[in-house]
């Protein structure tokens, strides 16, 4: 019995390794081809739609100024652009800083959330702005994001040239990658996520996930969907599934780039990622229950990706680790021997190789320092994720049983350190 369970666990891990290799190749192929249509697409940028950029902000005084400075430099006709800072129950100077920009730039304005939507989290804030604006396209940026000058232009370009796309999603990079060992790990992780998960899935399955920032969505689609789900902790993933279920797709267009701040301490990282993990688990469980009623069955690829990652893969890793450790102290008849060790070695080598491929795509990131960080990451950061997923699953189960309300955790920001 122990052997059977162990084989199942190892098989799940092996399948995940194969799937990620497949994704990595897709991501690289997408990297080679995504810029080719741009000259032709540029010809379709004569009649531009109106755009609203939503920036939900709750106590973001440390970062909002640099964000709005980047917004003031966006390349897009200013008579067709409005930037709305959604000041959601801030107790610091967020509103004051944003108002200063609003006075200087007519296309920037501040929206204060009011009861009953005040302080209820990002989804609620975004819905307030949706009700208070009327542009054809809605773009969302987190308050710590500094988009590149052409980011909005390229997001709109993706939508203008792909009528079947409900949304376009850009790429995000880590602005504080050099600060701590943790931000270095996160930097590597985000590069892998962009090119493997987003790029790879887009290439093979025409599937991409809204990442919560640096994306553009058609207002008409948002209104049909009734806006953002205020109960979801991962409102971006939840919106993704509903968009696909409507029969549209989401285009991954990494030409639109934004730079965002990532957690610099473990405690902030833990809280943020627990929210993400819980949010994604909520989404997976919500839509898997409705699988038979889903209109677009191909979305199952996205659901299974999350299901595999958050449930099956980690389940396989935890089960195999647990059986291995138990067998050290109590003979449960485990006779697998070398197989698990070979699989472990294979997983390590493939992890190294896949990460190096994605780092090679971001030219300056493939260096010896990052190579050492990748090795260290395997034994530290990746293992932390296992513990985090288990904890978030237990919290999610507890919430389902007790029916407790979800509380939005706002990620702590860090001041820019002087060089």
């Amino acid at each position: 019995m122990a052997d059977l369970l162990f084989y199942i666990a190892l098989f799940l891990i092996w399948v995940m390794l194969l799937y990620h290799m497949f994704l990595m190749e897709g991501g690289y192929l997408h990297f080679r081809s995504f810029e080719k249509p741009i000259p032709e697409w540029s010809r379709n940028m004569e009649e531009l739609p109106t755009v609203s950029v939503f920036i939900p902000a709750h106590n973001e005084e440390l970062v909002i100024e640099q964000t709005l400075r980047a917004m003031s430099r966006l390349y897009y006709p200013k008579d067709k652009l409005e930037v709305i800072v959604i000041n959601d129950n801030s107790s610091d100077d967020t509103g004051l800083i944003a108002s200063r920009f609003a006075e200087k730039y007519p296309f920037i304005r501040v929206l204060e959330t009011v009861e009953p939507n005040k302080g209820k989290g990002k989804s609620s804030a975004l819905n307030s702005a949706l009700a208070d604006s009327s542009s054809e396209i809605v773009i969302v940026y987190d308050a710590d994001n500094t988009p590149e000058r052409m980011a909005v232009w390229y997001l709109v370009m993706g939508l203008q040239n792909d009528p079947k796309a409900a949304a376009t999603v850009g790429k995000f990079r880590v602005i504080n990658a050099e600060e701590t060992w943790l931000t270095r790990f996160i930097n590597i992780e985000t590069i892998c996520f962009q090119w493997m998960a987003q790029g790879g899935r887009w290439k093979w399955f025409r599937v991409a996930t809204i990442p919560g920032t640096n994306f553009a969505i058609r207002r008409s689609i948002l209104e049909r969907l009734g806006g953002w789900d205020v109960k979801a902790l991962a409102e971006d993933t939840e919106l993704t599934i509903r968009v696909y279920n409507l029969g549209y797709h989401i285009r991954f267009f990494p030409k639109a780039i934004t730079w965002e701040q990532e957690p610099e301490t473990l405690s902030v990282w833990w809280k943020q990622r627990t929210r993400w993990a819980r949010g994604n688990q909520y989404v997976v469980l919500k839509f898997l229950r409705q699988f038979l009623t889903l209109k677009r069955k191909s979305i199952i690829f996205d659901l299974f990706y999350f299901f595999f990652t958050y449930f099956l893969f980690f389940f396989g890793v935890i089960l195999s680790n647990a059986l291995f450790i138990i067998n050290l102290f109590y003979d449960i008849g485990l006779s697998i021997g070398n197989i698990s060790l070979i699989l472990w070695g294979l997983a390590f080598l493939l992890f190294l190789g896949e990460v190096m491929v994605t780092l090679s795509i971001e030219k300056t990131e493939m260096n010896w320092k990052n190579f050492i960080y990748v090795i260290a990451m395997y034994f530290t950061y990746s293992q932390m994720w296992i513990v985090l997923v288990v904890r978030s699953l237990s919290l999610e189960i507890k919430r389902l049983i007790t029916g407790q309300e979800v509380k939005w955790y706002k990620t702590e920001r860090f001041a820019k350190k002087p060089k």
């Binding site: 194969l18 290799m21 390590f348 080598l349």
Partner: protein
């Protein structure tokens, strides 16, 4: 020999690492077993593939190779069909994989350095070509540049339905002039001619040193209606020349011109050939 330039040092460093990494596996693998010999050959093939196609291609092929090898190893263990010759201890598999990935990194880096150098050399060669495209005596563009510019102008004229006029001026008895007055006077002659021509033409007109003793003048947006006036002006400025010793001499030229009309369906070589033939009988 000191390796002064950075790229040479990098090439040397990565090259040495690559050689060490490619020599390490035989020590562990080549012990008379065919399977391990095959593994070593495949490793070398991937290294050379990386040197040829670059880092990412090498990494992707390494990953596919490692996955297949690992799966094969798992299968042989699982099915119990492993024969002692195909068994590979975990340490050896891990070490093999790491050497493979490091070797691919080193090979990829070498390939990157060589490609960068190649592109740099190409750029330098182009810079040199551009630099020597200017004739040192007159400051005009040379024949190579003239041909490029004329071809461009012909295409532009075809696209936008413009006309342009191209004049060739050949200085007669130039070799005798050089023999009689020397190189210093010859250089001064071209310098003075260039100054006068530049002063008389519009700034949008282009000037070329076509041959040793020939000058080409590209007059944009000009038809042959004004050719007589142009020739008169050229005659006024080019006929008489003052030598460095103060004496004045009269120069003689042969000339020809074409007025290019859109879509004339003739090549540049045909037009130049026609102009050369016409010049034999036409004086300024």
């Amino acid at each position: 020999m000191q390796l002064k330039s950075k790229w040479l040092r990098e090439l040397f460093g990565f090259g040495a690492l690559f050689i060490i990494l490619s020599q390490l596996p035989p020590y562990f693998l080549l012990n008379g077993e065919n399977t391990r010999l095959l593994l070593y050959i495949l490793l070398l093939l991937i290294f050379f593939f990386t040197l040829w196609r670059g880092l990412v291609a090498g990494l992707i092929s390494s990953l596919i190779y490692l996955f297949i090898t690992g799966t094969a190893l798992i299968y042989t263990e699982f099915s119990g069909e492993a024969v002692s010759t195909t068994r590979m201890p975990l340490q050896l598999f891990l070490g093999y994989g790491i050497v493979l990935l490091l070797g691919v990194l080193a090979a990829g880096k070498i390939q990157g350095i060589l490609v960068t150098q190649q592109e740099y050399n190409k750029r330098l060669q182009q810079d040199i070509k551009n630099f020597v495209a200017v004739d040192p005596e007159t400051g005009f563009d040379n024949e190579m540049r003239m041909r490029l510019t004329l071809n461009e102008e012909m295409r532009r004229a075809d696209r936008y339905h413009h006309t342009f006029t191209f004049i060739l001026l050949k200085l007669e008895n130039y070799s005798q002039f050089k023999k009689l007055y020397g190189m210093k006077e010859a250089n001064n002659l071209w310098k003075q001619l260039a100054l006068r021509i530049t002063g008389k033409l519009r700034h949008i007109d282009k000037k070329f040193r076509y041959q040793q003793n020939e000058i080409g003048l590209l007059l944009t947006e000009t038809s042959d209606a004004s050719i007589d006036i142009i020739y008169q002006k050229l005659d006024d400025i080019l006929k008489n020349h003052q030598l460095l010793n103060g004496k004045w001499i009269t120069l003689q030229y042969k000339t020809s011109y074409i007025t290019y009309t859109p879509n004339s369906e003739r090549t540049l070589d045909e037009l130049l050939g026609e102009m050369e033939r016409e010049m034999r009988t036409s004086e300024l």
